[in-house]
Amino acid sequence: MKKTKVLIVDDEPQILRALRAGLVAHGYDVVSAADGEEALDKAATELPDAVILDINMPRLSGLQVCKALREWSSAPIIVLSVRDAERDKVTALDLGADDYLTKPFGTDELLARLRVALRHAQREAGPTEPIVRAGNVTIDLARHMVKRGEEEVRLTATEYNLLAYLATNAGRVLTHTQILEHVWGPGYESETQNLRVYVSQLRRKLDPDSAQPQMITTEPGVGYRFIADEV
């Protein structure tokens, strides 16, 4: 079977070295680039299945690379950023990046994000899984039905649309803007207040006994992530 090819882009050689070691050890084929321009060249010649991209780079920032890549490639992109650079993360995600990681991060975290992104990219091409499970909650996307245990949970249309959008993107981070645009429609991108209220309601209906949010997790300053059971 052909190995999955990952392009890693970072201007710090130590990071490249560590990431390469981690990815190769887990069976990935690795190509690397040390700046934005090289990244675009390598992406065009090597046609990677996924890109891990540092945002802060000389000669073409990660954001610019992200934008340029999205013009012709749908390979999942995971951006690497630092704490306090929430705006960069959100910009990258809104430009089409699939996920982000905050430096410093563990290799296991990176691998998990990469798996989700690759799986999602595959699914985009094929038919979607009609049933998403998270703990004792089952979301039947085909029949528009949500159950907690055996009991059906009654949701309003907006609540359902929100949940369905999060669930179809299980494991991926979704920015406030993406969610608002998708669920509420264009023109509602700044109504984060509304979004907070709906998320809070959804959590109360689906996770009423849990003291801590586990199904819909908050990504501080960025958005939300739906955590489904691993399939």
Partner: protein, 506 residues
């Protein structure tokens, strides 16, 4: 206070009416009593309305009274009566003398009145000036004092508005404070008048006055008074600037000393995890030493943990320097505190398994308007701090409640009480209750970061200890709501749709 300073300028028509009434009343009374009175006495009695007018209604009224009294005396009482002719030379003398006396009395009484009015006006001026000057002495920052001055000036002189402009470094005038009277038509304002603000012959700015209507000028008395006051304001601003510079110099000196103390503390804190990482890594690199799996795992975990610690420290230092430099930029939005606190607790749960974290707030807690990431830091630091001092197995309680003006959040642990004398220092940089730098101890920056973030949001943070039974500590912070009613996380009224329709609207 309208017209306080226009004592000498205006006569009201009613003054003359009163004057004429007084003379007429006197005439009627004298006509009734004429049989018993001699001409001289009548002349004397006519001085009464003249004096009354002089004292009550001013010099001009008194002169009018003198003239009218003169005519009435002549017309009604001097033979031949009902004509203005005088037959008896003695009576003519009485008439002329009484007119002269009336005029002289009018003048001297009028002058005395004028002096009294001037004295009153000067007293008013002194009081106004005193009130204005008192604003300069308030215990407040320069900006607040300047804005209180604009308000006082506007109100004291019944203006439409007052603005203080100060010269910026490039010589252009910058508005520093401004007050606009709320009543009156904003479209109908007079041309602004500027009074220079000077200190030691150097003009540093101007006091700009706007009258209520285009046809109303700023009076000469007001101008004179405000020029005097402007000189004081000028001196005051200069004094405040000098004081600020002196403060800055002193702070610089202190911060130099503080910096070297901090540097030694920081380098210690940075080196400790680095040493641990270096030590573990070098052991692992030694090829000639056979390590069993457990030891390898131990060393690798140490590297992993110390890296996290180092990362937290670097983050804390960065936060602290941003807060100190005043460059912490808040990205405020509506946040659900319930979501925020639960998310923090969830993230910290692997490190806080020894404690029961309890939440206590109403279901309809309103949203806060804050920077989510920063408030996340505050709650994280407070929870971590609580876990350092709470006895294992004890509860750590997070409470929140909304009041009219602000949201209050409290994190309470059942650790040892913090003595009162330590309370003021808890939020100082690098302050640790114990000198122990055990691995579990923080960087000594957590609480000062909390303070910085909360205060940047316009809130307050403090500690209450002991909480109960001579133990426990409660860290409380407030976050003010923006003006206007805080939105509540109330269930949204939306019809439950049928399954078939779900997902079909938008």
């Amino acid at each position: 206070m309208r017209n306080v300073f226009s004592f000498a300028s205006k006569y009201r028509p009613t003054d003359f009416v009163f004057t004429l009434v007084a003379v007429a009343a006197t005439t009627v009374a004298l006509i009734l009593l004429r049989a018993r009175l001699s001409t001289q006495v009548i002349a004397l009695l006519y001085l009464l309305p003249v004096m009354l007018s002089a004292t009550r209604w001013g010099l001009l009224s008194a002169l009018v009274a003198s003239l009218v009294a003169f005519l009435a005396f002549n017309y009604f009482f001097l033979a031949p009566t009902h004509t203005l002719a005088v037959s008896n030379p003695e009576e003519l003398l009485v008439l002329v003398v009484s007119l002269i006396v009336a005029i002289l009395i009018s003048q001297s009484v009028g002058a005395a009145n004028l002096h009294a009015a001037q004295a009153r006006a000067r007293e008013m001026e002194a009081t106004t000036l005193y009130n204005l000057t008192r604003a300069l002495g308030a215990q407040a920052g320069l900006d607040e004092i300047l804005s209180s001055i604009t308000r006082h000036v506007t109100e004291a002189f019944d203006l439409a508005g007052c603005e203080i402009l100060l010269a910026a470094a490039d010589g252009s005038l910058e508005s520093k404070a401004r007050y606009e009277s709320t009543d009156g038509d904003p479209a109908e304002r007079g041309q602004p008048v500027e009074i220079p603000l000077t200190a030691h012959q150097v003009t540093m700015g101007a006091l700009r006055l706007t009258t209520r209507r285009p046809d109303v000028q700023v009076g000469p008395t007001t101008l004179r008074l405000l020029t005097t006051f402007a000189a004081q304001v000028g001196l005051f601003i200069e004094r405040a600037r000098l004081a600020r510079e002196a403060d800055r110099a002193r702070l610089l000196e202190e911060s130099d000393q503080l910096k070297s103390a901090l540097l030694s503390s920081v380098s210690h804190d940075l080196r400790t995890p680095l040493s641990a990482i270096k030590a573990s890594a070098t052991v692992l690199l030694h090829e000639d030493v056979a390590l069993d799996a457990a030891t390898r795992y131990d060393l690798l975990s140490a590297i992993n943990e110390e890296t996290d610690r180092l990362n937290r420290l670097v983050g804390d230092l960065l936060d602290m320097s941003r807060i100190e430099a005043g460059t912490l930029r808040l990205k405020c939005d509506w946040c659900d505190l319930d979501e925020l606190i639960r998310a923090v607790a969830h993230r910290l749960s692997p490190r806080m398994t020894a404690f029961q974290i309890q939440f206590d707030w109403p279901v309809d807690l309103p949203l806060i308007y804050a920077d989510y990431v920063q408030i996340d830091r505050v709650v994280t630091n407070l929870l971590e701090n609580a876990s350092r001092f709470a006895p294992p197995g004890s509860p750590i309680k997070v409470e929140a409640h909304a009041e009219a003006e602000a949201m209050t959040v409290a994190v309470t642990n059942q650790g040892p009480a913090i003595p009162d004398r330590l309370h003021p220092h808890l939020f100082d940089k690098f302050y640790r209750v114990s000198e122990d730098r055990a691995p579990g101890m923080g960087t000594g920056l957590g609480l000062s970061i909390c303070k910085g973030i909360v205060e940047t949001h316009g809130g307050r943070i403090w500690v209450e200890s002991p909480v109960a039974n001579n133990a426990g500590a409660r860290f409380v912070f407030t976050l003010p709501f923006p003006s206007g009613a805080p939105p509540r996380v109330t269930p949204i009224v939306e019809a439950l749709s049928d399954e078939e329709n779900q997902g079909s609207d938008r």
